[in-house]
């Protein structure tokens, strides 16, 4: 692959939530900035820009990733999924989102989209985590409003009643 020179905006294409999108980015542009300010989606929230808070978490080719620690050019050609992908086309909330609503799993909602993406990836590997396992996974996110109680209940309820683990029974 040829070198992408600094200070030049290079084309970057993604399959974002199943749709092809294209924008331009200097090599140093963070994926979080690219998604928000170049493509214009509103779910990739920046809380620390050093990889601790997890608010910017998205899926890149299905792998959970901090968008603030990824350069847009690194994601060129990849499939990126964000919280916009979770509800159906009519805006009907997914079962996981509904569980968050039911259990008051969010307040200001700034950390929520990133958390939903982590949970989405995690439950594919582990459809029925214990509360301890779930709390361990969620420790990769910071939430300042909820005390985590509602979101833990929401995920456990979802796993019990709606998720892949529930169906398997």
């Amino acid at each position: 692959m040829p070198q992408l020179n600094r200070d030049v905006r290079h084309p970057v294409s993604l399959t974002l939530n199943g749709k092809k999108v294209q924008g331009h980015a200097e090599p140093r542009m963070l994926l979080s900035d690219f998604l928000t300010h170049e493509i214009g989606i509103t779910s990739c929230h920046v809380g620390c820009e050093h990889g601790v808070c997890g608010a910017c978490t998205v899926l890149i080719d299905g792998n959970v990733s901090r968008a603030c620690l990824t350069f847009a050019v690194q994601a060129d050609g990849a499939a990126v999924d964000t919280a916009e992908s979770l509800a159906d086309d009519e805006g009907e909330l997914s079962a996981l989102q509904q569980a968050f609503k039911k259990h008051h799993g969010l307040q200001c909602g700034y950390c929520t989209p990133g958390i939903l993406m982590s949970i989405t990836a995690y439950l594919k590997e582990k459809p029925k985590p214990t509360e301890d396992e779930l709390r361990d996974m969620l420790s990769g996110h910071l939430c300042r409003c909820t005390g985590y109680v509602g979101m833990v209940r929401a995920v456990l309820d979802y796993c019990e009643n709606s998720g892949a683990g529930a169906k398997a029974e």
Partner: protein
């Protein structure tokens, strides 16, 4: 419809756990936060150069190189700002002038010095590295107690002292009570600097419209709008010429977002200077270093105690550290709790001294709890100590002193009017339903097994809806009498459009608490609709919405302020619709009821009309309205509770409108090996009056609790003795995760407020006040069982701190290893980076000496030296690139050698300054001749400040050691004429000599 209506009548939404109307937007990632607000083409992006020094005089600023960088539109300094704006108004008459950028001096690490605006944020940040600021570093004043002493450096020279205000208050006869006490119990408590650090930082979009002389701002400012005139006065415009807009969605506020206001002014000025709109997004390092923190407080508190456990008086000495500036509404944390200084206790005698002190730290501000955590930490730690000293159960001491049942409304000594409650009953219920007896059994069993287990209690009164007059008490009586302040106005508007759909706006400036949902519940109940029928829009605009100085989101004011205003507005709409409908239904308007979207006669429910039709007639056929009635249906409710009066001549003030009650108990266990605290069980009882939405109310408790766990165990903004800031990342400022925060057991009791029309009180701050001290009391209980004195127990309860109390003395290994050196104990933070070492050079001392004193060879010895200029004898300035591993920065180094004793010893001193930070240090080198060369021994002490110190905390000591070692390795290489030392035979030699591992 009769049966339906009867059912619907019973169907009230207020008081139900209604799911939030906000959630669908937030869960789908569609909420537009401040960073998503539209910006006009040509909008510039700001980056701010901040002071690396805690205290320094600005000698010069050269912006020319930065101004020439790509994309840069303007580079703005303090002098530019001073020319076109005024200093911010403050509460006290003190010569403490603060502009939007530092003028003459910098006073804390993070103090904004230069603002660059460029075509994007990346370019703006690039330019920061090209600004040359020359500082004269001044000694910093960091410790708040030392700051009060004479002869200390002054944060503001014009003040003549660092103490900005001292006020004494006396209520009842405390001297007599202390004289008659059986014993006096005294404690000195320290409450740390912390903040709830919302995940979304500050965002400002500002545009200056020269034609109108108007500043138009969209930002996630949270109020109180008492700061709006502070901004407009600074900008030198009439209040109406500063248009403030806030979006509906905010990524958390917790009080901190009032402190956007200096940046609103800065970006307004930047827009005016650059002639284009300006956008600024605060980053995390900026937020942690320079946004705001709750003031750290030292309290000396004494109780006059009778042998039966009765406390007859409190005496407080409260010393609050407000950092470098008093920004509005400071010093609120010292006065917001004033009326309730006796907490939940029936204590009639009280003496208080309040002191406000300035230091070289980030300015303090509103943070959730707002003075409560500091005050209750002192009170409840003291009550615990009272119980220990007189040998009574802490619960019994608490019970003995509570405000008794049946005395409400109760006027507390300092003026709070406790509106309702039954404190003894709330405690009994919590003890029973929460299982305190079982917890005591668990503690006793654990202790029998030799485990460190403790139980803590705390009780607090939780105030809500601040009286705008509370700060008046800081002024002398005659001064405040000239300009009395009191009250707290809230506004909400209900509109019914021509098709009969209902919308609501209000001035609550939500920060995630679910205001839209609760307002929809309230209005739905008034109008007989469902919450889904009500469209609530809480984006806010000072140019269009009803607002007042109390507008904003703070002091738990929503449920007794905005919620009441909305119910009043809805009631007005209801009354108007009833009057319109009454003639057609042939029923008196007062007798009509609203349910199921209809207005009807309850005696004959079939006699009904649709609400939308009635509302529509006010738009479509205004001529048919009753005589004198105005067309359309749009009503604003404004409300200010009459109980919120100015302070009286006795200095009593009802600081808040409602007073809830909280009682907590918990069991904790300490790991003997690590000192780590684990919360085993936590029970929290709340009497917050009527719960408007129990789901949301519990969410507030969980959230306050989680932050409080952070305050108790993890969170603190740490400063070095030199004022360097050490917690600039989320790896250093420790926010608890899902793994550290247990789920508390929440219990409720509902004693409706008698002063708030909906009966509701605040609930979102109580645990910020009760939980830190409850956990501390439990830790104290565990440690006291081991005979440890816990008087000095300070938050956060880091394992390292607790371990020190339980681990006893460290014993050096047994003999036989003479090279083992002692490790003197140093404090965990704040010390200089110190170290020493030695190395062997295969050359005589004279040659080493010549190398150190020779310009060219010194240049070769200094790591990463690009050029070395001689400033005077043995005095140099060098351009260097230094670092550890990949961390590398370009610095200007100044190196000086003196105290020269040829060829035996010398002192090296110097400094480094660059974009990554600044450093000063000194060291001594001693040369001792040996058989085949010279033993070079050295020691050093270094202070480091700026970005590297803020984000590199964990590595600093090792990095300093590595850098010093680099210097001496190069010295060895230079003198020995060998190659680069890394991985050379020299390092093997050093390893053999035990210098390198």
């Amino acid at each position: 419809m009769a049966d339906d209506a009867a059912v619907a009548l019973k169907e009230r939404y207020v008081g139900q756990p209604v799911e939030r109307v906000e959630d669908a937007t937030l869960l789908t990632g569609k909420a537009q936060f401040s960073d998503h607000l539209p910006t006009r083409a040509g909008t510039l992006h700001a980056a701010i150069l901040r002071s690396p020094h805690a205290h320094a005089r600005i000698l010069s600023i050269d912006t020319s190189k930065a101004a020439a960088r790509p994309g840069v539109a303007a580079v703005i300094t303090g002098e530019d700002v001073r020319a076109i704006s005024d200093p911010f108004l403050i509460v006290l008459r003190q010569p403490m002038h603060q502009w939007a950028l530092a003028v003459d001096k910098v006073r804390y690490v993070g103090d904004p010095v230069v603002c660059v605006v460029a075509d994007d944020r990346y370019h703006a940040e690039d330019a920061l590295a090209f600004i040359d600021v020359e500082y004269e570093v001044l000694p910093a004043v960091v410790d708040q107690e030392a700051a009060c002493e004479d002869g200390m450096p002054l944060v503001h020279e014009a003040m003549g002292a660092n103490v900005a205000s001292v006020r004494d208050f006396t209520y009842g006869d405390p001297d007599k009570a202390f004289a008659e006490a059986d014993r006096i119990v005294k404690l000195r408590t320290y409450y740390p600097r912390n903040s709830q650090t919302p995940l979304e930082g500050f965002v400002v979009n500002a545009e200056y419209h020269s034609g109108e002389n108007l500043y138009d701002v969209a930002s996630n400012y949270q109020g109180p709008f008492t700061s709006h005139p502070v901004m407009s006065l600074a900008l030198r415009v009439r209040n109406s010429q500063l248009r403030m807009r806030t979006p509906q969605w905010s990524g958390g506020g917790f009080g901190i977002k009032v402190q956007i206001f200096p940046y609103v002014v800065l970006m307004c000025l930047a827009s005016k200077i650059a002639g284009r709109p300006v956008k600024w997004v605060e980053d995390r390092l900026e937020h942690l270093a320079a946004a705001a923190a709750a003031p750290n407080r030292v309290t000396t508190i004494e109780a006059a105690v009778k042998n039966d456990g009765t406390v007859t008086a409190f005496r407080f000495d409260q010393l609050d550290d407000y950092g470098a500036f008093l920004r509005a509404p400071m010093p609120g944390p010292l006065y917001r709790m004033h009326g309730i200084l006796t907490g939940a206790y029936d204590i009639k005698n009280l003496a208080v001294t309040n002191r406000v002190v300035m230091t070289n730290k980030c300015p303090s501000s509103m943070v959730r709890g707002f003075g409560g955590p500091q005050m209750y930490f002192a009170i409840e730690r003291l009550m615990h100590k009272v119980a220990v000293e007189i040998g009574m159960d802490p619960l019994e001491v608490m019970r003995r002193n509570l405000v008794p049942e049946g005395v409400f409304p109760y006027r507390a000594a300092a003026g709070a009017l406790l509106d309702s409650g039954n404190y003894p009953e709330a405690i009994e219920r919590a003890v029973n339903e929460g299982g305190l007896a079982e917890l005591v059994r668990r503690r006793d069993a654990a202790r029998k097994e030799g485990r460190l287990y403790g139980i803590g209690l705390a009780t607090i009164v939780e105030p809500a809806q601040s009286n705008m007059g509370y700060l008046s008490n800081i002024l002398p009586r005659d001064e405040r009498a000239r300009n009395p302040k009191g009250g707290a106005v809230a506004n909400a508007t209900v509109n019914v459009d021509p098709l009969g759909t209902v919308s609501v706006t209000a001035d609550s400036i939500p920060q995630g608490q679910g205001h839209m949902t609760v307002l929809a519940q309230i209005v739905a109940d008034e109008l007989g609709l469902t919450p889904d029928d009500i469209k609530v829009s809480l984006d806010f605009d000072t140019a269009k919405d009803a607002w007042s100085i109390a507008t904003g989101n703070y002091s738990s004011r929503f449920s007794s302020a905005t919620a009441v205003a909305a119910s009043k507005a809805a009631r007005k709409v209801r009354d108007k619709l009833a009057r319109i409908a009454a003639p057609g239904l042939n029923v008196e308007p007062e007798k009509l009821e609203f349910a199921g979207g209809k207005i009807f006669d309850p005696v004959n429910p079939d006699n009904a009309v649709n609400l939308y039709r009635v509302a529509g007639s006010a738009h479509w056929t205004p001529g048919n309205l009753p005589e004198g009635m105005e067309p359309c249906v749009r009503e604003t409710g404004s409300w200010s509770p009459p109980e919120l009066e100015s302070p009286n001549e006795l200095d009593q003030i009802n600081t808040s409108l409602t007073y809830g009650f909280v009682f907590d108990f918990c069991g904790i266990e300490i790991d003997r090996d690590t000192g780590m605290v684990r919360i085993d069980k936590y029970v929290t009882m709340h009497d917050s009056g009527v719960l408007l939405n129990p789901l949301i109310a519990n969410g507030q408790v969980y959230g306050a609790f989680a932050w409080a766990v952070g305050c108790a165990l993890f969170e603190e903004f740490v400063y070095g003795d030199d004022g360097s800031f050490k917690t600039g990342t989320f790896a250093d400022y420790l926010v608890p995760t899902s793994f550290e925060v247990p789920e508390p057991q929440i219990l409720h009791m509902e004693s409706p407020s008698t002063v708030s029309p909906l009966g509701a009180k605040g609930i979102g701050e109580g645990n910020c006040m009760s939980t830190p001290v409850c956990i501390a009391n439990a830790v104290a209980d565990a440690l006291e069982a081991e005979g440890v004195n816990t008087d000095d127990l300070a938050l956060p309860l880091h394992p390292s701190r607790i371990a020190k109390l339980i681990h006893g003395a460290e014993t050096a290994p047994a003999a036989g290893r003479p090279e083992l050196r002692p490790h003197p104990e140093k404090p965990a933070a704040g010390h200089m980076l110190t170290g020493d070492g030695e190395t062997f050079v295969p050359a005589p001392p004279e040659e080493v000496w010549r190398t150190l004193l020779d310009e060219d060879s010194l240049a070769a010895v200094i790591p990463g030296c690009h050029r070395l200029d001689r400033l005077g004898e043995n005095d140099y300035r060098a351009d260097v690139s230094v670092g550890v591993g990949p961390v590398r920065g370009r610095f200007i180094a100044k190196v000086k050698l003196d105290e020269l004793v040829e060829p035996e010893s010398a002192k090296l001193s110097g400094s480094l300054t660059g974009p990554l930070g600044a450093s000063q240090g000194e060291g001594h080198v001693r040369l001792t001749p040996e058989a085949n060369g010279t033993r070079v021994s050295y020691d050093y002490s270094i202070v480091l400040t700026g970005t590297v110190a803020s984000v590199g905390g964990r590595m600093l000591e090792g990095a300093a050691r590595a850098l010093v070692r680099q210097f001496f390795n190069r010295l060895v290489a230079q003198v020995g004429g060998g190659p680069e030392p890394a991985e050379s035979w020299w390092s093997r030699l050093l390893r053999e000599l035990g210098i390198r591992k």
